[in-house]
């Protein structure tokens, strides 16, 4: 068990703007990416922040508190890609929940073995 003082410090860094979602939901995660780019007008190298969306199915949430992470899976050109995000990461600009999925377990690893039509998830009504 964690010390209540440590939990207090952690809660300070926790984000309150994260929507409620769970495994089976389809989400779009916007990640802030810093890059150095040359400005064509001034010829100066500047730091620029760009948003990169990553859309896919949440296959799990693990951990609790500040350490909680979630895994998003998507299939691009037949190749499955999974990204693990710390849920309270400041790199995440925002998370849009696109679709609520109806699944019967908290970790839907079985989706990895499915391809095409079999990998569909029913929408929650």
């Amino acid at each position: 068990m964690k010390d209540h003082i440590i939990r207090e410090i952690e809660s300070e860094f926790m984000r309150k703007d994260i929507p409620d979602f769970k495994a089976g939901d389809t989400v779009r995660v916007y990640i802030r990416i810093k890059e150095m780019k040359e400005n064509p007008k001034t010829k100066k190298v500047e730091e620029r922040v760009r948003l990169q969306p990553f859309e896919g199915v949440v296959i799990r949430r693990r951990g609790s508190g500040l350490q909680e992470t979630f895994t998003v899976r998507k299939v691009t050109q037949g190749i499955g890609i999974e990204k693990i995000f710390p849920i309270h990461s400041p790199v995440i600009e925002r998370i849009d929940v696109i679709r609520r999925g109806k699944v019967r377990r908290s970790r839907i690893y079985y989706i990895r073995e499915r391809r095409g039509k079999a990998a569909r998830i029913k929408e929650l009504r």
């Binding site: 964690k2 010390d3 003082i5 440590i6 410090i9 952690e10 860094f13 802030r32 810093k34 500040l66 350490q67 710390p86 309270h88 990461s89 400041p90 790199v91």
Partner: protein
């Protein structure tokens, strides 16, 4: 002031300004109370004696209690006496007995500190765990698994060298970790967050000092939100 006494509360991780995560140890540092000043004239060196960690009055010996009463006054239920140590100071006359020393009096954020503590006791350990010997093969008919092997030569020298690494008691000794960055300070809660691990179990006493081996180019991480505070100051 050179340092402060504190208590290790535990570890966690916090996000940083650049979007990554850093591991920190939470230490309850101070307030420490000055018991006595030591001067060159009287003691041969300049220092102050400070105490930390409340202990019930009835658990203290009479001689120690007398010293504490002299500095902090009579009539307290508990006295800070869990750890008493000395810190070097330039001018001991600046500190009065009974004076409280807080984290903010000693450290600033992004400063580097050395942390001393008593490491966790591991008991009597073999040579593989204690000194990192490789041991032997686990299988394929091998009968040599975790033993130390040969401990010396032959008739010359005819004895085992002093300091030979052998099995024995491990841990539970004074360890100092150098050059840990102060990531964040909470002045009102007397808390300090230090980057990385610190010797000892949670709840054990640690001593924080300004680093004796500064590395000027060591990169500094800044906790999320700390930059904004600096801008406000300007």
């Amino acid at each position: 002031m050179e340092g402060i006494i504190g208590r290790k509360l535990g570890m966690t991780q916090i996000p940083t300004e650049d979007g990554s995560i850093t591991v920190v140890t939470v230490i309850e540092a101070g307030p420490c109370y000055v018991l006595q000043g030591k001067t060159v004239e009287k003691d041969g060196y300049n220092a102050i004696k400070v105490a930390f960690g409340e202990v019930p009055k009835k658990r203290l010996s009479k001689p120690l209690l007398g010293e504490l009463v002299k500095a902090l006054g009579d009539g307290r239920e508990t006295y800070p006496a869990q750890k008493i140590t000395e810190f070097k100071v330039e001018d001991p006359s600046k500190f009065k007995p009974g004076q409280a020393i807080k984290v903010t009096d000693v450290f600033e954020e992004n400063e580097f500190v050395d942390v001393t503590g008593i490491s966790k006791g591991k008991g009597f350990q073999g040579v593989m765990k204690r000194w990192g010997f490789h041991g032997g093969p686990k299988s394929h008919g091998s009968k040599f698994h975790r033993a130390p092997g040969s401990i010396g030569q032959t008739t010359d020298p005819g004895r085992v060298w002093k300091g030979k690494k052998m099995a024995g008691h491990m841990g539970n000794r004074r360890v100092t970790v150098l050059n840990l960055q102060v990531v964040k300070i909470y002045p009102d809660k007397n808390l300090i967050l230090v980057k990385g691990a610190v010797p000892g179990a949670n709840g054990s006493i640690v001593i924080l000092r300004k680093t004796k081996r500064p590395k000027p180019n060591k990169p500094v991480v800044s906790a999320l939100g700390s930059k904004k505070k600096e801008e406000n100051k300007k």
